[in-house]
């Protein structure tokens, strides 16, 4: 095999890691890495979706009864909040591309706030309410009636799926906070915004999971 010196990029910006030959390779690797990670996330949630589907098929009346016990208005508000946060995230990426630092920080802060509103509604108005109604499996679940075991299964999946989703939201909020700190220190410019773009992919993915969870848990069969 022949060996030849490859001319290294003349300038070596501080954000280029030592093992990449140029910034384009680094950005492509980061983006592909996030897409591959999202594939693993789809499989991760996929196991739960498969379980939900099978039990819904086995225990349709129970799952419909369980769905009717959820507070649909809070789910709907949260859906709107989350879609709004996707918009602010997209605007943050756009601001980063244009090198507008203040707008970038502003949109990231908005994204965090919307994320926190979502989590607040989830914890305060939904899960606490469910707890008082004895709808949390493993913590005094009780809903006497013909479908009690199936309703408990429904709530198992409801809490695992929305809980796992909320965990991803919390991680996302943490990532946004780091990005804001980096942006405030001027780490990004119009030529270097890959971390924002990649984090945006993650945020949109978390949104999309909710777009599937909301109808499956709150709407389908139960009420409408």
């Amino acid at each position: 095999m022949a060996e030849a010196a490859i001319p290294r990029a003349a300038e070596h910006p501080p954000y280029l890691a030592h093992h990449f030959s140029d910034i384009e390779q680094q950005n492509e690797a980061g983006t592909l890495g996030m897409w591959v990670f999202l594939v693993t996330e789809i499989m991760f949630f996929g196991g739960l979706f498969a379980g939900y589907t099978i039990y819904r098929y086995l225990y349709l009346p129970g799952f419909e009864a369980g769905s009717r016990l959820l507070e649909v208005q809070f789910g709907a508000i949260n859906t709107a909040v989350l879609i709004g946060s996707s918009l602010t995230m997209a605007l943050a990426v756009r601001s980063a591309q244009l090198g507008r630092r203040k707008a970038l920080i502003g949109f990231l802060v908005l994204t965090i706030l919307l994320g926190l509103v979502f989590l607040g509604v989830k914890f305060n108005f939904e899960w606490i309410h469910d707890y008082h109604e004895h709808l949390v499996p493993g913590m005094g679940f009780s809903h006497p009636g013909p479908h009690e075991p199936a309703i408990q299964l429904f709530f198992c999946f409801y809490f695992f799926m929305t809980g796992l989703h909320a965990l991803h939201m919390i991680v996302g909020v943490g990532i946004m906070a780091v990005l804001i700190a980096m942006a405030a220190r001027g780490k990004f410019d119009g030529g270097h915004y890959s971390p924002i773009e990649v984090s945006g992919l993650y945020w949109h993915f978390v949104d999309i999971v909710w777009i599937f969870l909301f109808p499956l848990l709150y709407l389908v069969g139960g009420r409408y």
Binding site: G33, V36, Y55
Partner: protein, 546 residues
Amino acid sequence: MSAAVAEAPAATRVHYLNADYGVKSWLLTTDHKRIALLYLGTITLMFFVGGTMAVIMRMHLIDPAGALVQPATYNKLFTMHGIIMIFFFLIPSIPAVLGNFLVPMMIGARDLAFPRINLLSWYIFIVGASLALYSLVAGGVDTGWTFYTPYSSTYSNTHVIPMALGVFIAGFTSILTGLNFIVTIHKMRAPGLTWFRMPLFLWAMYATSLIMILGTPVVAITIFLVGLERLLRVGIFDPALGGDPLLFQHLFWFYSHPAVYIMILPGMGVVSELVTCFSRKKIFGYSFVAFSSMAIAVISFLVWGHHMFVSGQSIYAGLIFSLLSFLVGIPYAIKVFNWTATLHQGSISYEAPMLYALGFIGLFTMGGLTGLFLASLATDVHLNGTYFIVAHFHYIMVGGAVMAYMGGIHFWWPKITGRLYPDLWARLAAAIIFIGFNLTFFPQFMLGYLGMPRRYATYPAEFQVLNVMSSAGATILGIGYLIPLVYLFWSMRYGPIAPPNPWRAKGLEWQTPSPPPTQNFDVTPVVTEEAYSYGPPEAAREAAHG
């Protein structure tokens, strides 16, 4: 070895091993080569922990009434042996050690795409392995490595939760390693290294990584649900609460059958490297071998139901899974035929790595063919749950995966450590392992065929002769594994200095000094030819190349 590639002895040159010293320089390293060595140490420890349990089991089974331990202890022994060997040795073995070391070197890159994630995945592995070992010393687990519900979730009184958590956490090591390999192979190949010039080891690692990222998340969430069910007493899989235990088996085998291919595919990649090097020939049918790896990755996700033929799965599902399981034999057969054709008229030499490779081909073929017995619905009803299954998967896992791992370690040892090991001892150990392995596991085929069930601490007296043979073989096998441990350790300090390319092998990793510099290559290599261009065996051409 020609003089042209001779160079300053490793001791005076700066390379990845002596570039920095101290515990901190190892524990905080992001160098893929050092991380590979961290994995090597960790999984070697786990291998001998799991092996010790196997030895205790075989000693116990010398007597039909059981010679050593209580039946409850025996249940824990086979469970812990399986969990540790599968999740903490075989799955990380070739990918995390050889793959970590070789993927960047073989593609001419300076490191994996995400070096810090690579280090993180080792720490995740340490946390998982620590939980598993904690569960072991706290009293063990007796559910079988498969964690079948509702036994694991409701009835077992052993330390299921720390063990399940350990397996769950260790799964993220697989996911992150697979992610890293996929991105690295896609984006960081050296100039001129097209997909079809890549060594077949990389194709195998790529296919393995696909299985890792697609399968591992599913088993992770499944094991997590078992843990939650046990902790909160809710009924995802508990039939008493409306759950479906078969759903657990489906979700578990959806990952755990492809996991078999996570363990064997990297071994096939190693064997493709060894067979070509030691027969001095280009691989026969490169693209067939490459695509068969990808075919295995795809079909592996469609055959999980053959673990459930007698579990109450629908007979029609069973028929389809049986057919698909036969299909997966085709890409395996392609590989075996192509290795054999590569050997044909090659200039074969029998160095230690080649002995392991040849052992792999023979033993894997036996394991694969007996797999067809089990993929047939009718014979599986008779053989399921017997020692036939135990023998079958040990021919794949030990005769296949471990043989290839040992062959790979011996092949790349001079590159990894810069030292040569004593060749005679290495060949002797390979022969002892081959003999010990067959003596251990061939009698188990017969035991299973005669109807001896697996996972029992006692057995009828008429099975004793074969069981004693198997136990005797296990002793030989154990000695066979201890010998390399001794001489490989010895060679790290006292072995002769290795030249850059002791086997005159092709491949980018041999074009850089042994051990490699921290940046792997002093200049980024450019690839101008296909893999395995060993050419005609005439020595003249080799010499001309220098």
